[in-house]
């Protein structure tokens, strides 16, 4: 067991995936010599050489598009988008080909590829470096959309994302990259895609979240216990597409109350889908309207205003208290 932060844990997963399958190649901007702007690909160029750890020219569309070609040929490319805010140039290839090729060719070609990208706010970055657009990819048929929340699940989910023959968008909450360390087992560990986790058990209310919002949500749950004697359950979605309806519906069927938390905009966000699933699957257990604590339907502010803007434990607690008061 080693104590690793998320950057180190993802790095370990990338290395392990390259060791276990020679078809795995890494490609992205500044991932080789510079070892990634967040150092996620540290040491990989040295260990695996420039044929498998590829510093590409600065063009997200071709990173994704060439990866589609490589996947057609039988390689397993793992692409890094330097920031999710620059991935829109690649979205054309993601929607147009990565998500469609298997279906289009009636299963003749798999798209066994992963596109990793750091997302979310909280690191005092300039414009286009803080958004949370996971709903865009979750809305897109044919993709799987995975979002870890800590070092251990990041490592396990990334290994699984690289192994699976389906295309995966892997969102890394960059505010969590170096936020904390966690024990990560030495031997390879995987977690299934499409399975959420109850990270804190409770009986009065369910708080549903993912990514960087898991920490303030757990903090809110602990405060609710300490300050109000409320037993809050916290579900970490881990995968937002496909969504684990069973886990969230079971939790809310037990507690009868729910608050959904995410950084991304509210309208048509993941919270909207979670709420719809709960209404469809746990309606008769609901004792209060479902609340959403999310980013607002505005552009993510520049960083002078970001801490004020981001959902926090206080807001989650406040929403939970209002929900409990119904």
């Amino acid at each position: 067991m080693a104590q690793l932060n998320m950057v180190k844990a993802i790095n370990q997963a990338l290395r392990e995936a390259m060791l276990e399958d020679e078809n795995v190649v890494q490609m992205g901007e500044d991932i080789g010599q510079d070892e990634g702007v967040f150092r996620v690909t540290e040491g990989l160029l040295k260990e695996f050489g420039e044929e498998r750890v590829i510093d590409t020219p600065l063009a997200e569309g071709a990173i994704a598009g060439c990866a589609v070609g490589m996947a057609l040929y039988g390689l397993k490319p793992v692409c890094e988008m330097q920031f999710s805010g620059f991935a829109y140039q690649a979205y054309h290839q993601i929607e147009g080909h990565m998500s469609r090729y298997r279906n289009r060719t009636r299963g003749r070609f798999n798209m066994a590829m992963v596109i990793r990208m750091p997302f979310g706010g909280g690191i005092r970055a300039i414009e286009h470096h803080s958004e949370s657009r996971e709903a865009l990819y979750a809305h897109n048929p044919g993709l799987k959309m995975v979002i870890p929340s800590g070092p251990r699940n990041a490592r396990a989910l990334l290994i699984e994302s690289i192994r699976t023959l389906d295309p995966v968008i892997f969102f890394e909450p960059k505010a969590m990259y170096r936020a904390f360390r966690e024990e990560v087992p030495d031997e390879i560990e995987t977690m299934p895609i499409g399975k959420s986790q109850v990270v804190r058990e409770g009986s009065d209310i369910t708080l549903i979240t993912y990514g960087a919002m898991v920490r303030p949500t757990v903090e809110a749950a602990e405060d609710l216990a300490d300050e109000d004697g409320v037993s809050a359950e916290v579900v970490d979605l881990l995968t937002v597409s496909p969504l684990d309806t069973e886990t969230i519906a079971a939790s809310v069927s037990k507690t009868g109350r729910a608050v959904v938390v995410h950084e991304g905009p509210r309208t048509c966000g993941v919270g909207a889908e979670v709420t719809a699933r709960l209404v469809e699957n746990a309606f008769f257990h609901l004792e209060a309207p479902i609340r959403r604590i999310t980013g607002y339907d505005v552009h993510f502010p520049y960083f002078a205003r970001e801490q004020a803007f981001l959902p926090n434990a206080d807001r989650i607690k406040h929403a939970a208290r209002e929900t409990l008061a119904v």
Partner: protein
């Protein structure tokens, strides 16, 4: 000395071997035996006759919108006829000639235009990609496949196509940029048919040729008479040999002409003159190749008649196969999306099945 010329190593040649009158350059003429030449002619003829048939079928409402290929047969057959099965081709959306040579059934080719995903089900063992609808979006795939060949240390090549309109897209620029930097074994063929729907080639770029764009990507470029199958063959062979030898990619601009409409949904009279079309009809790739073959003693009236009959029979069988396999199962839109099917799709599939059953739509066949 504030200003001096930078020497850029580039030359753009135009290659033509067989002209529209059937005259040819014996020094440049590729050495192809009679059977090979006959095969090329037959494939061009099959492409032409299938195209005519599909246009008719569209007019009769037997298939949907169709993108005709009339006039571009030489680009397609000349460029791929020498490939190995382990080489790959990447088509845009107007390359039925490529598919016919590479082993796609006529049934599969028609299926796409008939509105069936089956038309993109690349036959097992055939290393091609299916039609890519968004213009030039397939160009980075050419690079990626060729890159895979390089990483896997194979001496195979990937030949891919796009149109003159496609050269304006970012995907074209990015795909060729990467191909140049990583020196992948790719051959990019621009089928410059002069018109991107209603936009003429001169409004696509101010550059004098499309071939010269190669210089910007650090690769050789050549312009060929795309209606001269011998020139297309010769230029592609050079490019393929270079790619196989590890010397990197090539850009080929094949100057041709779309004699028919962009698709059956537009009327070219709205944007181009009949005189222009007539001028290009005189440069039709098939009659000039026929003249060449007659002069070579490979073809005579009798063989042409036999070939026409053979091609007609092949098309007839293909159309019959298409029309006898029109049944499809709407439910199977769920069946190819993922390897590991999510629970929500299993539920949605069941819901859809119940709808179809209520509505009396036959499924499960």
């Amino acid at each position: 000395m504030p200003r001096k010329n930078i020497k850029i190593e580039t030359k753009i040649e135009h290659l033509s071997i067989l002209d529209e009158k059937g005259k040819f350059d014996t020094a440049l003429e590729p050495k192809l035996d009679g059977d090979r030449l006959m095969y090329m002619y037959k494939m061009m003829l099959l492409t032409r006759r299938l195209d005519e048939r599909l246009l008719n079928m569209q007019r009769q409402g037997r298939i949907g919108t169709y993108a005709p290929v009339r006039g571009q047969e030489a680009v397609q057959i000349g460029s791929v006829v020498d490939l190995r099965p382990s080489d790959w081709t990447v088509q845009a959306f107007r390359e039925p000639g490529v598919c016919l040579h590479r082993g796609w059934s006529i049934n599969t080719i028609i299926k796409f235009w008939g509105g069936y995903e089956e038309g993109c089900a690349v036959p097992e063992g055939v290393n091609d990609t299916p039609i890519a609808v968004p213009v030039a979006s397939q160009v980075p795939h050419i690079t990626g496949i060729a890159w895979g060949m390089k990483i896997k240390k194979k001496d195979d090549v990937c030949i891919g196509f796009c149109g003159d309109g496609g050269t304006s897209e970012g995907d074209f620029h990015e795909g060729l940029t990467f191909a140049g930097v990583f020196k992948v074994p790719a051959v990019f063929v621009i089928a410059n048919n002069q018109w991107a729907i209603s936009i003429p080639r001169e409004k696509q770029t101010a550059a004098k040729t499309l071939a010269q764009k190669a210089a910007g990507y650090g690769m050789p470029g050549i312009q060929v008479d795309g209606n001269d199958v011998l020139a297309v063959y010769a230029a592609t062979k050079e490019a393929v040999d270079r790619a196989r030898a590890g010397e990197g990619p090539t850009l080929i601009e094949a100057v041709t002409y779309r004699l028919a409409m962009h698709t059956t949904a537009d009327d070219p009279k709205k944007y181009r003159s009949d005189e222009e079309v007539k001028r290009w009809e005189k440069r039709d790739p098939i009659p000039r190749f026929e003249k060449y073959l007659r002069e070579k003693g490979v073809l005579d009236d009798k063989t042409v008649e036999e070939l026409e009959a053979d091609v007609a029979e092949t098309i007839k069988k293909g159309v019959e196969e298409y029309e006898s396999t029109l049944d499809c199962d709407p439910l199977d839109c769920f069946d190819y999306l993922y390897n590991e099917v999510p629970a929500e799709l299993v539920e949605q599939r069941a819901e859809f099945a119940a709808c179809l059953e209520r509505e009396g739509v036959r499924t499960g066949h």
